[in-house]
Structures are given as structure tokens and as C-alpha cells.
């Protein structure tokens, strides 16, 4: 159950639009169904009254939209705790002008995963309401189905790393704490596999990739002016995979490119139409960086030097990486 309501957010936006603090608002817009939520730019309270939503399906992270945002005056952006890490990371990389943004931190009680709900409730889901700890799923064929909300949260929310905002101009509701997250458990399971098993696992997952580029397009770390996969000079521009190995290369290269900059926001897996657990690749990198160079959370603070672009005398020697990472590193 989200503690801050949609009405409170609209009222806050209306207040800031009225007093001229901001001229536009990044917010979630309702789609055909309650759970089809789209990122949108609103210019008035009236527009927001009509289309703005704040419910258990507002996963979209607006940080990346600030890069392309243009327009006079400030833009209002609502940031959930995990979004603020991306926000800071992009500031560290000088990707948007902090002065042109008014960030309102809002608490988040986790976002539901419509895939899990549909798996349980079956076809014909027309809407989902939240009532306390329960989700009320409206269906065409089976009427209302009540589900325990906690079981149907997105994976990234079940292992939420932080309920604490690391950046905002104004905070609505109460701030939370950095959680003792079990987010590396899944990575540990992969590490425990033999090389062959792990290869088979990723072969199976990644073979579903259709190279729609949604993971790249949504990723706040994939914010290059020109992506290597969109650069004719790179030789790999928008190339369809010619064999089952190439789609792996796309994801592995992408994971390398965002290593040390990925905040583990989980957007890649949320938007993947093929349900590939892409975040696990990034999390493996985060875990390795933590192990080799000491714990580091990208975006925890603005201007921090990520271990991969920093040098200290204590840095691990390449030869030691295998030893420290264990036999399956």
C-alpha cells in the first residue's frame, strides 16, 4: 500500500505549477488498463487530473528522461527511492542540469509485477486494486481474485535495496532506510553452477532475445549520445543476431558498458518483453566489484569515483581476481 496518494501528488504538482516553481511534470500516465502505465510529461494540473496515476504499477524510473528534457524553467520529477540512485549517477556523469530539475522524493512500498499476477489470475485481467496487504484482481472470467500483495511484487522490490532517498529537493511522507537486501542470492545461485550449467542457463534465457533494444532504451546507464549499437562506424549497428552467440554478446557488452555505473534499478528486466532476467548480469558485476574493490553503490552519492574508473594501491591484481572470486569467478 503506497502511503502517499495520487491526490497528494497531483496537489503537490498543482501547487508547484501554480507558483511557477516548475513548468512541467514528469509523471505516470494511465493506459488502457490500470497496470498499463506509461511515462508522460504533463503541463497542467488539469492534464494530471485526467491521466496521471500513482499505483502499484508505476515502476518507470524518470531519471533518464531528464537528459532529453528541454524547455523553459524547471521540470518536476517524482522519484521513488531507487530512482534517486539513477538520478545521482546521471548527475555524477554530468548528464543533466540539476538546476533545471525540482525533484520530489516519494516513498514506495514496492511495485507489483503484472506478469506474476496474470500467471496466477489467468487471462482477462481488467484491473488491479490495492486494498491493504491485498491485491484485488478484476478478471473477465473469474470475477475478483484476492492475492497477497507481497507475493506479487516485482523481484527487484522483493529484494529492495533502499527505501531511503539519496537525492531530492523535497520529500513527501517519511523517508525509509537502506535495506539489508538479499538481492545477491540469485547471483550466488548462478555462481554455484558449473560453467556448463551457467552457459546453458544464459543460452536459454538470452536465446529469447528479439533485440528490441527496450532494455537499452530504458536503462539510465545506457544514456550515451550515440550507442555503439546505433553507430554505423562500430560495425555492429542495429545488427540482427546471425547466430545464438551474438545475442549474448549484445547483453554481455551492454553489461560491461554499464558496469560500475548500473545502480541496479531493475528497469531492464521490467521492460523486457521476453522476460529475460537481464538484471542478473548487472548484479553479477556489482557483486564482483563489491568483492574485489570493496562495497560500492553507484549513485549513492554524487561525484563518487566508481572503482572501475579509480585507482588505489589496494586494487586487486588481475591474477588475484580468479582466486578471490572462487573457482566459478
Amino acid at each position: 500500500m503506497q502511503t502517499v496518494t495520487k491526490e497528494m501528488l497531483i496537489a503537490k504538482a498543482a501547487e508547484l505549477l501554480d507558483n511557477g516553481s516548475v513548468t512541467r511534470v514528469f509523471g505516470w500516465q494511465k493506459g488502457e488498463f490500470d497496470y498499463d502505465v506509461t511515462p508522460a510529461l504533463f503541463h497542467s494540473a488539469a492534464e494530471m487530473e485526467k491521466d496521471f496515476v500513482w499505483n502499484d504499477f508505476c515502476g518507470a524510473n524518470f531519471s533518464k528522461y531528464l537528459i532529453k528534457d528541454k524547455g523553459e524553467g524547471k521540470v518536476l520529477v517524482f522519484l521513488k527511492p531507487c530512482d534517486t540512485y539513477s538520478f545521482n549517477q546521471l548527475l555524477t556523469e554530468h548528464r543533466f542540469d540539476r538546476e533545471k530539475v525540482y525533484a520530489v522524493g516519494i516513498p514506495c512500498d514496492g511495485m507489483a509485477d503484472i506478469r506474476l499476477i496474470k500467471e496466477e489470475a489467468g487471462e482477462g485481467v481488467t484491473g488491479v486494486d490495492t486494498e491493504g496487504d491485498e491485491l484485488v484482481v478484476h478478471t473477465l472470467y473469474d470475477g475478483d481474485i484476492r492475492l497477497n500483495r507481497g507475493d506479487f511484487l516485482a523481484e527487484r522490490c522483493k529484494v529492495c535495496k533502499s527505501k531511503k532517498h539519496v537525492a531530492y529537493d523535497e520529500l513527501m511522507g517519511d523517508d525509509g532506510e537502506i535495506a539489508d537486501s538479499a538481492r545477491f542470492d540469485e547471483v550466488a545461485k548462478l555462481e554455484a553452477m558449473s560453467a556448463d550449467e551457467r552457459f546453458a542457463f544464459w543460452q536459454n534465457e538470452l536465446s529469447r532475445c528479439i533485440r528490441c533494444n527496450a532494455c537499452r532504451d530504458v536503462c539510465p546507464a545506457c544514456s550515451c549520445e550515440k550507442c555503439v549499437f546505433g553507430n554505423p562506424k562500430s560495425g555492429v549497428e542495429n545488427k540482427a543476431a546471425s547466430d545464438s552467440f551474438e545475442e549474448k554478446m549484445f547483453h554481455i557488452i551492454r553489461a560491461f558498458h554499464v558496469a560500475g555505473r548500473c545502480t541496479d534499478c531493475g528497469e531492464c528486466s521490467r521492460v523486457c518483453p521476453q522476460h529475460i532476467p537481464l538484471h542478473l548480469l548487472n548484479r553479477k558485476f556489482i557483486k564482483d566489484i563489491d568483492t574485489f574493490y570493496g562495497e560500492y553503490q553507484a549513485g549513492a552519492e554524487v561525484g563518487s569515483r566508481a572503482p572501475l574508473v579509480d585507482y588505489t594501491e589496494g586494487d586487486i591484481e588481475p591474477s588475484k581476481a580468479v582466486e578471490r572470486g572462487g573457482a566459478n569467478a
Binding site: H94, R95, C224, K226, V309
Partner: protein, 663 residues
Amino acid sequence: MQRIGVFVCWCGTNIAGTVDVVKVAQTLANEPGVVFSADYQYMCSQAGQDMIKEAVKKHKLTGLVICSCSPRMHEATFRKTAAAAGLNPYMVEIANIREQCSWVHKEMPIGTEKAIILGKAAVAKVNLNAPLTPGESPVTKRALVIGGGIAGIQTALDIADAGFPVDIVEKLPTIGGKMAQLDKTFPTLDCAACILTPKMVDAGQHEKIRIFSYSEVTDIGGFVGNFHVTIKKKARYVREDLCTGCGLCTEKCPQKKVPNEFNLGMDTRRAIYIPFAQAVPKIAAIDEDYCTMLKTGKCGVCAKVCTAGAIDYKQQDEYITVDYGAIVAATGYNPISMDKFDEFAYSQSKDVITSLEFERLTNAAGPTAGKLLRPSDGKHPHTIVFVQCVGSRCSGADKGKEYCSKICCMYTAKHAMLTRDKYPDTDVYVFYIDVRTPGKNFDEFYRRAVEEYGVHYIKGMVGKVTPDGDKLVVQASDLLAGKQMKIDADLVVLAAAIEPDKSARPLATLLTASMDTNDFFTEAHPKLRPVESPTAGVFLSGTCQGPKDIPETVSQAGAAASKVIGLLAKDKLMGNPCVAHSDEMMCNGCSSCEKVCPYGAITYADKEYRMPDRTTKVRRVAVVNEAVCQGCGCCTVACPSGAMDLKGFASAQIMAEVDAICK
């Protein structure tokens, strides 16, 4: 499209012995862009070079691939050949078919196949090469020598004598280093101080030499010819401009119980001190760890007795920045700690000492005024056991070092001989693994110790030393006689291995100079460039590069100086055109490249750009200072979008090489 000429060198039989050079030349002739291909016995010879020049003219070549030895050997040669033929020198690529091919393979078919692949990669690269022009940078005509031992002093003197100003930075209050602590020097047995102190005085008085004693280098920026160095002058609480070195303060200071590091802690000094009588500069320093005034504010005796008014308890560390054209590392060595060698009872008995401590015990300026007396009871020792290779030549190196410390055989022969000479009633044993005495008059010196002075040289190692009453029971094996020995010794002297000074590793980081696993500085080439670091403008003098005795150190110091002089004599340096550059339209301005640049060559600028959507946008983009960039390529790897690339080693060129190899 390039018109490429391929030239395959036989290198006598060096290459032709394991590579079918004719086949390589014929195969590469079919590669895209290749219009001429030939082989020749010695491509680097005048005739070979003339052949290249003629081919360039006759076939209108635009690029050259030389299949020969490592580019480290002859790349410069062939670039000059290309330039003489009217080509841009950077249109030459070397395929290393000697070190990386013919020398490592034994079978002709394998060697030939690999040579062809390496040649194809080079052809693929040349197809994408573009002419490059190096920039120029000026040279600051001043050198920095880090370390004021005999190596640093000699290097500084030689540079200064050539007319260039030099600064010596020494971390201790005086220059002189380890040599100042030695008693006599092998193989001539002249007194170390007698030959060192005149050089110290020369350095101190030379109009071209400045000595920053009690100082450390804390930061180094810039590049060859243009280094910017920050030097921390540690507070010595004595004003250098006023102190006359009279030494009165060092006699009156009531704090008498400070271990005297010059005598390796075998006696004490005062809290205000001049390390030794011939110190240069002869200026006192206050040891802030022991000075009562500095610690409690109650004392001030030295200030009262100082007639020059030189004492300043409020002195602070001072940081100065100086520009240099060249930097010489001369950081020296230390004996290793004996902590891991307790089988020799070093920590249990005062009468187990290291060789450097023995030097002080026999030195007239040492704690016993040169009389050989046991540290424990001040009695004359009658049986002395010298143990060689303590921590040297340790296999596995879980304790000690794998290398030979090189100086121990000779100084131990010297110690043994001098002991027998002064105290003929003393029995002297030397336990050794091997006696290694190559060097002019070295072996003769060692034989004199054995034959004329009757030193007992025993091949075998000491297993254990056990203090027993006022004796030290030495258990050892005599390998030649095949028996165990037990000696009741009065004094045991350990020839401790030497290791680079601890300051060398952080200095190497500041210099971006490379080191080996033992923290000795690495040479640019172990045989042909032994006094240069691979980092341009950084030179190596003395034991920071490897164990050396005094004559070798002085030779190397002079060699390093001559290299520095050669550099400083130039007015301008040609830069390396293989530097990074950024495609500004692709740059995100994210600062990754700036963070990884070891040379500080990357800055950012806000520039206006006309964007594809016909708007004008101010974007933050990376700008490379080509004079500072060393072309290491870190930035190209860190750049997430691939905007940063390296001229001469562009990602596309490297990929073309990889593709050619994998085809």
C-alpha cells in the same frame, strides 16, 4: 584505398630458419591493398632500406608492412626509411615475426602459418592508417634527483657539471645515504667517509645544485620535459637560513634517550640532532616524536642556547612546486627486517647483529668509536660467525627474497679480513651457499681473506643460533666435510638481504614508472636501456633498480646523468602523435576518461553544437591535451560510447587486426 608494400625480412636464419619467408611474401601479396611484396635477407641493412625506398617510388606505395623483428628493435629505423622515401612515418606497421614467431616456434609450417597471420593483421591495420604528425613541447632545463645517497649525489654532480641546475630531494636531514654509514669499502679498503664526504661537500657547495633535505616528493604531474613536482619540506623546527651547524643545541638538549638511527639504534642521540659530523647540509633538526618542548611546551633549552636564533618551534611543513625536465629515481635500499629469521636469534640476543650494524661497530664514528665490542657486555668477541644469504636467494620467497643481494659476499670478506687484521686472536667463520665474487679485483680480495688472513670459509648454512649464557651456540652443517658443526660464538653477524627503500613503491606510482615484483624499478630495456625507466623522462640511478655495489652504483649514476643531460640539452621534444582524441558529437561528457587518465591530459569544455534536430545545444565534451597525453589508451577503454579513440591505434584498426587474425 592504400597501395601497400610488404617486406619480409629473413633476419639471416633468425626468421628464415623457421619461417618460409618466400611463401609469406607470396601469400601476403594477395591481401587487399597489397601491390608489392618481397623478401630480403636483412631488411634493416642499408641495401634493404634502399629496396624499400625504391619500391615506394616505383609502385607508388602509400603504406608499408615490414615483417621483421619486434617494433621495439627497428620500428624507428623503418619509420625513418619511410620518411626518407617521402611517406608519413606512421604509415609503417611492423609484423613481429621474429620474437613472437620464429623464435618461439620450431616447426617451419607452424612458423610460416603464424607469420602469414601476423602479416595479414598488419596489412589490415595499414589499410586504416592515416598520416600522423607529432607535436612539439619545450623542455624545462632543470633536473630532479630523488634520493641523496651516493647514487643521487653522483648523478646530481654530473648533471650540474654539465651546466644544468639540479635539485636533490632527500628524506633525511642530510645527504650521504647508506655509504655514509659504511666503514671501509671493498676491494681497496679505503674509508667510505673519506671518499664520500668530499662528494657531499661538492654537492652542497655546487652553484647548480640545490639540496632539499628532510623533504619528500608528494606529487608529480606533467610529462617528459615538463614535470611539475610538489616537494614537502618537513618542519625541522630549525631555520635553515640561520643555523650555523655549531652543534651546541645537540649537546645541551636534555632529551638524551632517542635511539640513534645513524648507528642503527645501537646508541642514543638527542631530540635535536645533526645525524653525523660531516652532514650536508650541516643543519640541526628536531625530532618531533621526542622533543619535550614540542610535545608538552615545557623545555626550550635549544632555543636558549642557540646563538643564531635558529630554533623555531612553530615551523610548519612547507610545500613547494618546482618544474623539471627530467626526474631521476635514486631511492636506494635497506636491509630487510630480521623478524622472519628468528632461527638466528636476532630478536633474542644483542650479540646477533646485521652486517650494517657490524659496519657501525667497526666505524671510528660509531657507538664504540671503532673498537669491535659486543653490544651486550662491551667485551671483545673472540669467535665471530658470519652467516651469508640471510633472506637472499630464498626459494619460494615466503620469507626473504628470491634474488641475490650481490654485495654480501664482498662485504663479508671485508669484515672477516678487517677483523682478523685488527684482532688476530679472533676466530672468524663464514658460512656460505656460494661465494660470488665477479668484479675487478674481487676474487683476489676474497682469496686474500681465506689464504692470508685465515678466515674459515665453510660451505653450508647455519640452521640455528641459540643464546646460552654469554655464548651463542651456532649449529651449522659443513657440506664439503659432510658433518654437523657446533660453534660457541661470541658474535653472530647476519648478511641480511637488501630490498628497495619503502618509499620507492609510492614514488613509482607518482611517476607512473613500472616496478618488478620485488619493487625494484624496471628499466626501459634490461640490456640496452638500463638507466631509463619505460616512462619517458624518468631515469634510474643506483640500487633502486637492483642490488649494486658502490663502483656499479657510481657508474650507473653517471650513465643516468648522461641520459638526463642528453634530454635537457634539447630545446624541444617531438611528441608522440599516437594520442587520444574525442569524437565530440559522440561524447557524453561523463568524465569517465578524465577519471582514468593517469596524466591529467583530459579536461572538459562546454561547447555549442548544432544538433541533428536543428537546435543548438551547449554540451559538455572531453578535450585532450595532446602534449600531455602519452597514448596509453585507458580513456578509450573507459569511454562508454566509444567517442574516445587513439590515433594510430584506433579501435577500428585493432578490430581489423583481430578480424584478420580470426579469419
